[in-house]
Amino acid sequence: MTSKLATIAAVRFGLGPRPGELAKIGNDPRGWLKQQLRPVTMRIASADGATRLDEYYEARGKGADEVAKMLRGQTREQFRDEAAKRTLAAVTSETPFLERWVQFWSNHFTVSVQRPVVLGLVVPFEDEAIRPYALGKFRDMLLAVARHPAMLLYLDNAASVGPNSRAGIRRERGLNENFARELLELHTLGVNGGYTQNDVRELAKILTGWTIPPRAARMGPLLAAGGEKAAFRFVPNVHEPGDKQLLGATIRESGEREGLEALLFLSQHPATANFIATKLVRHFVADTPPQSSVLAVAKVFRDTDGDLAAVAQALIDLPAAWDPPLSKVKTPNELVISALRGIGATESPDVLRGAAGSLQQLGQFPFTAPSPAGWSDESSSWIGPEAALLRVEWGLAFGTRAARVTEPGVLLANTIAPLASKPTSFQIEHAPSAAEAIALLVASPEFQRR
């Protein structure tokens, strides 16, 4: 007999139980979650961001047609493969809370292949800028994100030039505000965090020179010195001279250090703690985050200087996170992953293809978010009329396949049994076929919610 709390741990904090997981959680759901908060070394992409940049430059060296061909062909295929592998890692993970945690931060710092130039870089981005810092300090993740080629290209900072820098004067180039604005609005302070248009401009100036190195520079001296290929470079020639003002603080002219100072300042700003806590509580508790929970999490964020492992613990310790009924609706990504976990799917070409196809059909293929704000975390964005019907139809297609490898009663016991309402249990039990029983199970509100 598994408890409701074990189920909540598995569906709300985890990614939905795999067979046997509820028993393993037993009567220590908080302990099961907290023991997952240990750093794990893991990489999904087959190459690092620096290598992918090389491949891009190499194609570019051959001319515009070659770049277009590369983006259309092999890079797109490689991206799709890696995105499917990333989904499979979530399906098979034995630390599903940690995996959800990584996906949360990846979405917070969205990079999306809506800008095709980053196709080869988005999965390395998660590997290099998100995953290694998921249990570390927020400021370290922020810095890794701000220096990663995927972000530098996605939000255009790579091309931004100080108008009064040497290069700016010589080549008549200038600022691009894109990254600076989203860094303030989406990554740190939040839109009501108290910054002005002038702060956006000043931060853009501070970050001029933060860019990707040209190919030759990356390959030559660094490799000769035995170092790793770099995917980030500060170019003083492009950096806007002079002191800058950011939210009332003066950042003295100091080249690359200005950016480091600004990022540290933003990561420690109280508005950032509040903004991050609000998003986290929305993710783990309810679409409309209870203020007391937000305050509790924000306090831990501030008191620990943004220690993300401590923040994760604080979320686990929120009483509100353990109150059924579950009010959140799974995103398509969460729905597909939890269904595959429910039937105990393991790596196979069929599962990879099926997972990728399902995510495409339901409108949430990884790393394709429509904007830098990332995927919505509110049910009103996901349960439109067409989407609701599509989830039912998808459930039926899933049930037809899943009936070959599992039985409805087993799946029910392994997943939502403690939460299932009487009508849901009754309809599953009396469904005309195993496929339809499984379809009803995954279409049920108890399975669709978390």
Binding site: V161, N176, E177, I383, A388, P445
Partner: protein, 410 residues
């Protein structure tokens, strides 16, 4: 197992027969109380109004725009003249003739009441129809629906896409539809799902609306559902997703018992870098817009005469080219009204000029027309809604932005 997998979206009129045979009533259509159609095309990302409708006659245009300035009308890759001062972007060529015909009405220097530069807050405000982001959880088009006769009996609102954007969300039930390659579920199975959704309002309401939309689409699209979104047999390139959706929306709106208000969303307008003049990222987005509008017109057929399409975006962009061949978030921009019911053939709005002292905060095109006034003018004269309701219910607390007159043929 195949008996439970019927390709819902491949069904022809047979869908109704199946439904009736199962003894349920999924098609609840009331007689149309209005033949007037209104389509809102929401351009997400901030369309550069100075690129879409170029003020080539302004003395400061070429200097400010630099590498983004379009060649003059008549020159190679030149803009398409409208009235000797303004010209359309060359990628909007497919709708250029609409202007001469009187079916296209660009409005310039238009903005919402939002004056900051966040996409997400600006879109929220544009959609919720109030004076502040997040001040309402329903949208002005849903509130418009509540004023239409017949809204209680059938779903007059349609979003093409899987989800319903905020502008159409609210208490009035609406449909959303998008092509899909997942096989459909039989009515009998959907009945079982309805049973388990009874205690969950969010899921039960959405499913009921989804089924209704799907039935409506079956009857409006017929055979076309089989091929929609797939590459054409003759080897021509696959149509852009937006064009497919626009075609579907037009066909559904054309139906005697179809929806009367539809929303279509287009992205790709956030051109911070590589925006280009006649070619580049802006040209790509503009091509998709023009193709979608043409697809709407074609599929509306004779209903085009009763249609107003309003095209708007959350904000314009900086007047001058930025440091990276693009434009950053700005304030005023351009909007369009199009359709057989539009009194077009002129560029509406008061031109503020591009001189340094005329720009908003020394960087953006200054707003001179409130977007709500444009939308309210269209709704009042096309859908015959009373000004008092538009001032208070549709665009809350908006009597300071009275409806613009003369936008619609009467």
């Amino acid at each position: 197992m195949t008996d439970i997998l019927i390709a819902r979206r491949s069904l022809l009129l047979g869908a109704a027969a199946v439904t009736l045979a199962a003894g349920t009533s999924r098609l609840a259509l009331a007689a149309a109380d209005t033949d007037r159609r209104f389509v809102f095309v929401l351009l997400r990302g901030g369309m550069d109004g100075l690129a879409a409708v170029a003020p080539y006659g302004d003395n400061d245009y070429a200097r400010l725009r630099g590498s983004l300035a379009l060649a003059k009308p008549g020159e190679a890759d030149g803009a398409l003249d409208l009235d000797g001062f303004f010209a359309l972007h060359p990628s909007l060529a497919p709708i250029h003739s609409w202007f001469k015909e009187g079916a296209l009405l660009p409005v310039h220097a238009v903005a919402t009441s939002y004056r900051d530069r966040s996409h997400f807050d600006a879109q929220d405000l544009l959609e919720n129809g109030t004076k502040a982001p997040h001040a309402a959880s329903d949208g002005w088009l849903n509130r418009t629906l509540s004023l239409l006769p017949g809204a209680g009996e059938r779903r007059l609102g349609l979003a093409v896409g899987q989800q319903v954007p905020l502008v159409l969300r609210g208490p009035v039930q609406v449909a959303s539809w998008a092509p899909s390659n997942i096989p459909a579920a039989q009515p009998g199975f959907l009945d079982l799902v309805r049973e388990i959704y009874k205690g969950d309002k969010l899921f039960s309401t959405a499913l009921a609306n989804g089924i209704a939309a799907s039935d409506g689409a079956s009857s409006a699209l017929g055979d076309d559902m089989k091929t929609m979104g797939k590459p054409p047999a003759n080897g021509a390139p696959r149509p852009a997703a937006a064009v497919t959706l626009a075609t579907a929306a037009g066909k559904m709106l054309a139906e005697a018992n179809g929806p009367r208000i539809a929303v279509l969303e287009l992205g790709g307008w956030d051109t911070h870098a590589g925006q280009g003049a006649a070619r580049g990222r802006f040209a790509g987005a503009a091509t998709a817009l023009a193709d979608s509008l043409v697809a709407l017109r074609t599929s509306l057929g004779p209903a085009w005469q009763d249609t107003v399409i309003a095209v708007a975006t959350e904000f314009g962009r900086t007047a001058a080219v930025n440091g990276t061949g693009g434009t950053d978030h700005g304030t005023a921009g351009a909007a369009f009204l199009a359709g057989g019911a539009v009194a077009g053939g002129r560029v509406a709005g008061k031109w503020p000029g591009l001189a340094a002292d005329k720009l908003y905060q020394a960087r953006d095109l200054a707003p001179t027309t409130d977007l709500r006034a444009v939308l309210k003018g269209a709704l009042r004269d096309h859908l015959r809604l009373p000004t008092a309701k538009l001032d208070t219910a549709v665009f809350k607390d908006s009597s300071d932005a009275p409806p613009l007159a003369g936008l619609i043929r009467v």
